[in-house]
Amino acid sequence: MERVHQQAIALVQGHRDVQDWSVRTVRRRSFELYLVRDAVESRRTVETVRAIAEVHRDLRGPGGEPQRGFSSLTLLPEDGLSAARAKLDQALFAAELAANPPYTLPGPAPYPEVEVWDPALTEHPQEVLEDLAGQMLAQLAREPHAGPSSAEFSIHLTETHLTNSQGVEARAQDAELFAELVILSAGGGDESEFYAALRRRALKDLDLPAEVARFAALARDSLGAKPPPTRRGPVVVSGQALVDLLAYLRHASSGAMKYQHLTRWELGQPVYGSHPLQGDPLTLVADATLPWGVGTVPFDEDGVPGQRTLLVEGGICRQFWADDRYAQYLGLPATGAFGNLCLPAGTVPLADLLGEGPLFHIVSFASMDPDPITGEFVGEIRLGYDVRDGTARPFKGGALSGDMESALAQVRFSRELAFLGHYHGPVAARFGELAVGGD
């Protein structure tokens, strides 16, 4: 790893056509285990090393105005000198074409101590994977009307070394656990499944037997469930389904999107557009320092320190998150990597959010991907509950639709919090009125 890192630096440093440069070398080792039902389908070991060098050239525009262009090249350990030089020549020519307004690279800065390397994962990763598989199967053996369909477990160990022409010299290592589970249930002549994907940095943050028990219960709830009635009204969205819906916030608050004129958010303005606030005012934090957060990093790809940034307060946009270049273009402080999506606790207990029916409670989407530009969304519901008259009847199918601006203007957040890998915030949210299309 060090050899290719130094090779990349030697290639770009001092080159007459390179005014600024950075080299980021990444070594990644992955250990993977795949199960079909209760049998091993595959075991895999993967190791890669690559050095990504960025070259930045100062240029002049047609009217003599200063410009800067950049491009990159990726060096592999097997690249000889001639291959490396050929890649550099192409990158320099590309940088000359890709002329943009000028900017500078970040310099050295103190980096936060972050918790992203769990020895419980890293010391014997293959054994950890086998143990997790065993835990899953053991729990499912205890679950009525539930069994394994498939599972994928992997541990990824990453080392990063970053050096740039402004004096940045930074190293980091992180570990990530990924688990994808599909639980089957059968009964009453019907079959169902529940799919879940989990990412964690610390083994202690994954109580796999408890998660498997929860997923098995959700799979059982799906048995015999039919599409919901079509209805506009209150909708509670919880857990990963809520995280999927709130992913829009990362795009809307992005400096890159702001620079491209692709977000409607404005500094100092409400994030609800023309919709009057009828719920909890939104507070949004991008936190790259959250302990054991999947998005946690000590520095971003340019060397900007990881930090905790208040983006929205009381429904008002206070800041865009941006890397160093977009921050300079927008005249804003560089915030570095987005990190983890964090919201403070709401004021309403979950039981109260669910108490005033009739309403729909959605716990899983097949796919929910709000449009990053317009905020419109439509997503099929994998599992939800029709809550009325004191009962919660499971349903599956149908689609939730709406737009994020009006939805955020009428949301109440739960008092209870959840940590879901790259999210820390209310476990549920109630939207005053959304449309569910069903039968």
Binding site: E32, V36, R37, E41, S42, R43, R44, T45, V46, E47, T48, V49, G69, S71, S72, T74, L76, P77, E78, D79, G80, K87, Q90, A91, F93, A94, A95, L97, A98, A99, N100, S149, S150, E180, L184, E191, E193, A197, T230, Q260, H261, L262, G273, A366, S367, D369, D371, I373, T374, V378, G379, E380, K396, G397, G398, A399, S401, A435, G437, G438
Partner: protein
Amino acid sequence: MRQGQDGVDWGALKAHLPDIVAEMERHVPYASILVTSSEGLTLRINHRERQVEPADPRQGAVLTAWCGDHMEEWATTALDPDRLWREAREFLRSVRVAPGGLQVDPGEPLVAEFATPVQIDPRTVPLRDKFAQCQEEHARLAALDRRVLNAEVRLLESRERKLFANRYRLLSQEISRIRYFLLLVVHEGGETAYHWHTRDGTGGLEIARVSEEKVAELRDVAVALLRAERVEPGYYDCVASPSVAGTIAHEAFGHGVEMDMFLKGRARAAQYVGKQVASPLVSILDDPTVEGAYGSYFVDDEGHLAQPTYIIRQGIFERGLTDLYSATHLGVVRTANGRREAFTHKVYPRMSNTYFARGETPVEAIIQSVDRGIYLDHLSSGMEDPKNWGLQVTAHLGREIVGGKFTGRLFSPVGITGYVPDVLQSISMVGDDFALSGGWCGKGHKEWVPVSDGGPHFRFRARLG
């Protein structure tokens, strides 16, 4: 030593891989090696910035050992033959073989090389010329309308070279892909809308051309979307464009018949082999041999030669798509659908080019037949649900039809959901046109491979929301 432009000594690898496989098979019942190398470029120009970025050179090898009941794999960036030998020996030390076990069919002996035919090889066109084309295209888009807020042109070119070796086969292929993407974002009266157009395929830069007519259509639709409404949830008579038709084929009867799902108990389709699942007007195929299609290839990543597969023939479900593992465990004939996102990723049964077969009804007649319904166009996204056999497709655009004519009313976005057999059995008219469009397919939310889908227009009934 003869090296490719990617710095890989393919000649040396061809000489060594069969011997490394033979050494591996002294320890395991079956072994194979796949070497991959990719290169490419993305040019991106919009109102605010320009980017010229090389593609990630996914260069490495994956050694596969079949151990009787499961696979063991070792993926490495080492492509120097000496180092590959050392890594193979180290890999074999960790492999555990199950006694007995299933036998893998290595295929008939074959040594062959394949390459995508191209008219304009991107490597022969100077980067400056490609950049100039994108700049001119961007200028054309920017001048289309005073309401244009941003316009973006993206040219993606990629070349992927693969070498597969097992006991009897040494197969290499070079696939060239192009994707040319135009995005128009318009703004008026506080509303923002956008539309896009894509041209893609396997081939050369001859693909990266968009007609004036298509550019004008791009503008007209983007502006019209400023006043798009939300469709009232409910059941509708629908006409699917080839883009939407293809996604229905892909999500409903593509993912649903990837036969790892059969092994995992996740595919309701497994109960319907040989049974009527669609209107007799419906045939669906998966075919990696379609010339020029974005998802095409010559050999899958497990050394199986590409061939078409009839999934549904005249409404009857015939068979699914396999990789080596699923075919071996299910005891079925393999199809050429074992694919990886990269050498760092596992193989799964994956689609290639998946489409409805052409019918006989003129498209105008299909639209005229609808008394009240929605024309669905321009796929936005889709997601599979093989267990419930549910369908979820989002169309970017819906046009109202009343009395067989478009009313001018637009809806966006439009979610299409339903139970797959109901949707397919409701197909009552199939068009005599045909088109494919390319994109990237994930298994869930990961494992991305290039594919295409499409077909003709058809009339059907579905729940929209």
